[in-house]
Amino acid sequence: MYQAQISRANPSAFVFLVDQSASMREPWGAESGKAKADAVATILNRLLQNLVLRCAKEEGIRDYYHVAVIGYGASVGSALGGSLVGEDLIPISRLGNNPIRVDDVTKKVDDGAGGILEQQIKLPIWVDPKAENGTPMTAAFGYARSLLEPWVQSHPDSLPPIVVNISDGAPTDGDPTAAADAVKQLTTSDGSVLLLNINTSSAAGAPVEFPSNPEVLPDDYARLLFAISSPLPPYMRTAAAEEELRVDEASRGFTFQGDAVATIRFLDIGTRPVNMAAVDAPAT
């Protein structure tokens, strides 16, 4: 299980569910001064950039993945902007070739001789921050299922899709457990769809990463998201262990935190290719 090789003939899929409710305007833990919605949009844009780069070759972007970014707040639907408005699960080449804009940013880098160099870098943007209304998480899981049910039928031997839900907590449309279970019940011949949850917290305490015991979590909402998170498959446990995180067979794909760096690490572990035709650089 979870060993299928990712290739253009056998791609995998990511569905990112992004809480865009009003509470995402609040500051985010250690990232004080930055609203959760802003921080999450930044992290998502960099993650999408890295996924595109992983698939990019000289001739273009190879469709190793299909990707959806679904926002839930005032409504539930694609959070992609620009020419991708309204588009759900799309080949990564379509994503990579159609950002809303590409920002030019000046980055200061070490010149290797004790000085600082200014380097121009290009940051593609696909998702702008948004924060309004409630948290229709149950509807978001239903939306994810509606995207992935036909996808697994048309990709029966692919590495199972991964759904990543990023939220600050309390659903406003009821208990999402059954809807989350319906997503996780979708399968390919290589295993079930995996559901990972990132609980963005306004508290600046130490992050909880890949816990195996809900008792360590501070509130019922965190425990709810823990309960609906998939146990980590072996390849993700290996990736987490490589990052020197303590994981065991009961560890869930869940993190509770207010720390952008740890969130990026969680997403990196959760989206790292297990067995890609384009293997992780710089392996050959």
Partner: protein
């Protein structure tokens, strides 16, 4: 001493032959008297233009004769410049430009055969996980720089097309050994080398299997590789083996 060279290769399943990212030198079967230069390189799949980088590296060893470790290091920066200038294009999409900045990566194995008053021998340089196996009298005499099959799989340190040559000095290893008439050298990229060493460790004779392919039998070789991949005995990756027989 005479040496005869033949080479077999196959692109990974799911890729076209144009997407094959290993490289080898010479480019076709050949025979050599007294002196010969041979190379195999394996471009990293995730980087862009890694086929070109692999081709530049084998060309540096085989064509330009940079077979000594220090000589190759001295010329690496020229190769990097050649690689970069070939691909810079202001109108390219953001992801092509960013992949160029990240550079291409490749493993390299270069072998030079020499015969002088001390007799025939080889000098080899290597970075990463391409592997040289020397077979003598029906037994594996040497596997280098990867010595056993379990050493494959971790991320090898590869030559970068953007990092300064000085930083890569430590990655490039050197080896030398006397040779005898009848020896066969197998220069392999990692997927086949891992299978080869595993078979040898199990007491089997992979050199006989690979050595049975006659020059030009590309279809036979590819059918055999396909069977190994389908049986799960070989990782799905580009495959290259160059055989150098000492006669």
């Amino acid at each position: 001493m005479h040496a005869s060279f033949r080479v077999f290769w196959d692109a990974k399943i799911g890729s076209s032959p144009e997407e094959y990212e290993d490289a080898f030198w010479p480019e076709a079967a050949a025979t050599f008297a007294r002196d010969g230069r041979f190379a195999v390189a394996d471009g990293a799949t995730e980087s862009s233009y890694s086929r070109h980088w692999a081709q530049l590296l084998v060309g540096a060893v085989g064509g330009q004769g940079y077979t000594r470790r220090e000589t190759l290091i001295r010329h690496l920066d020229e190769l990097r410049t050649e690689w970069s200038t070939a691909h810079v294009n202001p109108s390219q999409p953001w992801y092509v430009a960013q992949k160029l900045e990240l550079g291409a990566f490749a493993a390299l194995l270069g072998v030079r055969l020499i015969e002088d008053a001390r007799g025939p021998r080889y000098h080899a340089i290597a970075a990463g996980d391409c592997c040289l196996v020397v077979v003598r009298d029906g037994a594996q005499l040497r596997a280098w720089p990867v010595e056993q099959s379990t050493d494959f799989g971790s991320n090898p340190i590869l030559l970068s097309s953007v990092d300064p040559a000085a930083e890569q000095r430590a990655f490039l290893l050197h080896d030398a050994m006397p040779l005898a008439t009848g020896d066969t050298l197998f220069l392999m990229s990692d997927a086949l080398a891992a299978w080869f060493l595993r078979e040898a460790e199990a007491g089997r004779v992979p050199w006989a299997t690979v050595g049975a392919f006659e020059s030009g039998d590309d279809e036979g070789f590819r059918a055999w590789v396909r069977e190994l991949r389908e049986a799960g005995a070989m990782r799905n990756d580009d495959v290259t083996v160059a055989l150098v027989a000492i006669e």
